[in-house]
């Protein structure tokens, strides 16, 4: 017992106060997409993109992006650049399809939903063919660095105790029914959070017949968190934004 207390002292206080302005220096955060810089006929970015997320000169679909950074390396005109800003979760799927440098970050839920969930949000997590990276970085929010519970957010074992689902993975055909049944077991009003490129649009598995290509069309998604996997700070930023606890553009 004494040893445990001593260890507790040695290990110190590790809980971070707020969401950092910038991720580590080699980590790719929110991209700045400037299609105005694209040269006529150039498609270097699209050639290297593993998930067909870019239409040169037009759009970058952040929902499909795996953050491999190949486009930024291939682009001779600086049209794609990744900042270190963690904030990039949005409320609508269409907000992830960037046509310029602006990204409409997630707004808070409406007043009624905030009254219900603002101080206590219980989520049931469903991995639907997630590779365990998104799952791991959702799990890590429970560790003392992030301490998710201090914001009133918690993961629960039963969908009947939950206010919503947090879905990861491209939704394999073999998990489709289980996901929908879990959703039906959550009492309304309920939220859906899609975490990671797979849950948003299928990730690398977007056109596989064995998957549904993400949650879109299956469930009404209230928050999209891009990444492969999203950094834990990106997930936390998104959750806090819909609860109205983080506002503004964030760094970037």
């Amino acid at each position: 017992m004494l040893k445990a207390l001593l260890a507790r002292l040695n290990q110190g206080h590790r809980t971070a106060v707020g969401i950092p302005e910038a991720l580590p220096d080699r980590t790719l955060g929110r991209p700045r997409f400037q299609p105005a810089r694209c040269a006529e006929g150039c498609s270097e970015c699209a050639r290297v993109c593993p998930t067909a997320a870019i239409e040169p000169g037009k759009t970058l679909d952040l929902g499909r992006c795996l953050f491999c950074g190949e486009c930024a390396r291939a682009c001779p005109h600086g049209a794609v650049r990744f900042t270190r800003s963690p904030g990039m979760a949005v409320r609508r799927r269409s907000d992830l399809v960037l046509a310029g440098p602006e990204l409409q970050l997630a707004e808070a839920l409406d007043e009624q939903a905030l009254r219900l969930f603002g101080r206590s949000l219980r989520l049931r997590q469903v991995s639907a063919a997630g590779c365990n990276a998104c799952e791991a970085d959702v799990n890590v929010l429970g560790t003392l660095t992030f301490d998710l519970a201090r914001f009133g957010i918690d993961f629960v074992a039963s969908p009947r105790h939950a206010d919503g689902l947090l879905v990861t993975g491209p939704v394999s055909q073999n998990m489709r029914e289980a996901l929908l049944k879990t959703w039906q077991a959550v009492p309304a009003p309920r939220l859906v959070v899609a975490v990671g490129a797979c849950a948003i649009a299928g990730g690398p598995y977007f056109d596989h017949e064995q998957t549904c290509g993400g949650t879109d069309g299956l469930l009404p998604v209230d928050l999209y968190v891009p990444g492969c996997p999203p950094n834990p700070w990106t997930i936390l930023d998104g959750l806090l934004r819909i609860l109205g606890r983080v506002e503004g553009p964030g760094a970037g």
Partner: protein
């Protein structure tokens, strides 16, 4: 390497005493299938363990099958899961297989299947999953119990099937990397490494020494983070919260060391064909070394608490035992095999780069219980941390990537990498044009799921979470 085509009895005989790393099919002439095994030397006898694992010795016995063939499983229990997979993929029936049913249910409805049932008045059945209580991947567990005692556990997977293995050969180079880095997301480095080593072998490209060292850094960081997380989770499963809480944080700190090198906490984008995409400059290497030293100091303190707690050890010891013979028969790999006394480790058996000299130490235990599986992880963390410290303080000079070339035509390559869960086996074959024709992926979990089922026999059902965590297997790595 080339497969050696043998008669069926000769093929079966050649599996005796060997570890079955993979069993795969290749299309043969006029509807037949070439069944090929990748075998590696079996575990050395216990008394030889100090000088265990002579390097090398891969064999590729093969035989032609069509329609049906006599099942290998009665003579070679480690073929059990592989034969079910082979039947599912190629439709060739192993006659006399004791429990022939799908492993991934690619046609859908994975829950709708006959489960092995124990009959009797006091027998009851417990069904768990696919959606579990925690933040964890889906799978179905069917327990046959008498009271609290588990008589039999059947594990039914396939919920995570994404069709990745069959998509690999035709994928663009960038997409193939995304596939292998998400085969099992917690083993992004291990699978990416196995993939790249196959491509390099097929292209005849040699990776620069500095890149090989950085690859070993990535692989060992992945092992450290996962072992640390597992030990914390084991502590959490028996309600010992100090270590659970410390290790949860420390695992994150270890993932952040990988992010320091390549930006991604899981090492995605670091390993690339021809070498690595991110170098470590001297300042960064020193920073990593210092931070690693600090993390390991805290890890030691957290694990010391765990090891000294009588109530924890009482729950760990004699729980979920897999004997040496059972581990050998089932062909277990990784820490689960080493905890049962099998001195098998690809870093020792198939060394490359910095693993070549001196021979890499293999950590084993004897009992094969939860305590042994925890101890092996603990010991391996110490070995990896020491090894990493050495690598980071003497990185060889030079480039970190060489230009890739086209792949040789009609060639064949096997890659064996010791991921943190154990032996990762990937096989790649090319056609006459030098395009990838077929790929085979065997995640260590594929070998070990049956080990977990056997570990539960005679246990209290309430020990399932603890036993499960002590294996901590991948669902998507199995389901592909």
């Amino acid at each position: 390497m080339r497969p050696e085509i043998l008669s069926f009895p000769e093929f079966s005989k050649r599996l005796t005493g060997r570890h079955l790393a993979a069993l795969m099919g290749l299309p043969g002439r006029s509807g037949s299938v070439l069944m090929m095994a990748v075998t590696t030397p079996g575990a050395p006898e216990p008394e030889q363990e100090a000088s265990a694992c002579p390097p090398g010795g891969i064999q590729l016995p093969a035989t032609v099958v069509e329609g049906a063939y006599p099942s290998l499983t009665p003579d070679h229990p480690q073929a059990h899961w592989f034969e079910r997979e082979f039947f599912e993929q190629w439709g060739v029936r192993p006659e006399g297989h004791p429990w022939l049913k799908p492993v991934r249910f690619p046609q859908g409805h994975p829950g709708l299947t006959d489960f092995f049932q124990v009959q009797g008045e006091e027998i009851h059945e417990v069904a768990v999953g696919p959606v579990h209580a925690g933040v964890i991947e889906p799978g179905h567990f069917r327990f046959q119990c008498r009271g609290e005692e588990v008589l039999h556990l059947e594990i039914s997977l396939g919920y995570q099937h994404r069709g990745v293995e069959q998509a690999l050969p035709g994928a663009s180079p960038g997409r193939a990397m995304a596939y292998v880095e998400t085969l099992a997301g917690d083993t992004s480095v291990g699978h990416a490494l196995a993939w790249c080593r196959n491509l390099e072998a097929l292209a005849g490209v040699r990776v620069p020494p500095r890149a090989e060292v950085l690859r070993a850094v990535a692989l060992e960081l992945e092992r450290l983070a996962n072992h640390c997380g597992d030990l914390g989770a084991l502590a959490g499963d028996v309600g010992y919260l100090p270590t659970a809480s410390f290790c949860g944080r420390l695992r994150g700190d270890l993932l952040n060391l990988t992010a320091l090198a390549c930006g991604n906490r899981f090492g995605r984008g670091w390993i690339r064909p021809g070498g690595v995409a991110w170098d470590l400059d001297a300042v960064r290497a020193e920073q990593m070394r210092t931070r690693l030293g600090r993390v390991m100091k805290d890890v030691r303190e957290a694990l010391d608490l765990l090891n000294r707690s009588g109530s924890v050890q009482a729950r760990f010891e004699r729980t979920g035992i897999v004997t040496r013979q059972v581990a050998l028969d089932l062909g277990l790999v990784g820490p689960a095999a080493r905890a049962s006394g099998l001195a098998l480790d690809c870093r020792r058996q198939f060394p490359w780069g910095p693993y070549l000299q001196p021979p890499f130490p293999v950590c084993t235990a004897r009992v094969g219980d939860v305590a042994s599986r925890a101890q092996v992880r603990h010991d391996e963390m110490e070995v990896s941390a020491r090894f990493l410290d050495g690598l980071l303080s003497s990185l060889p000079e030079g480039p970190v990537r060489t230009e890739m070339k086209g792949l040789a035509s009609k060639a064949f390559s096997v890659s064996l990498v010791e991921g943190w869960r154990g032996q990762i086996c990937q096989v790649a074959a090319t056609d006459t044009q030098g395009n990838l024709l077929a790929c085979k992926v065997v995640d260590p979990s594929f070998h070990n799921w049956f080990g977990l089922a056997v570990a539960l026999r005679g246990q209290q059902i309430s020990d399932f979470p603890l036993c499960n965590k002590s294996f901590n297997l991948s669902y998507c790595g199995h389901d592909l």
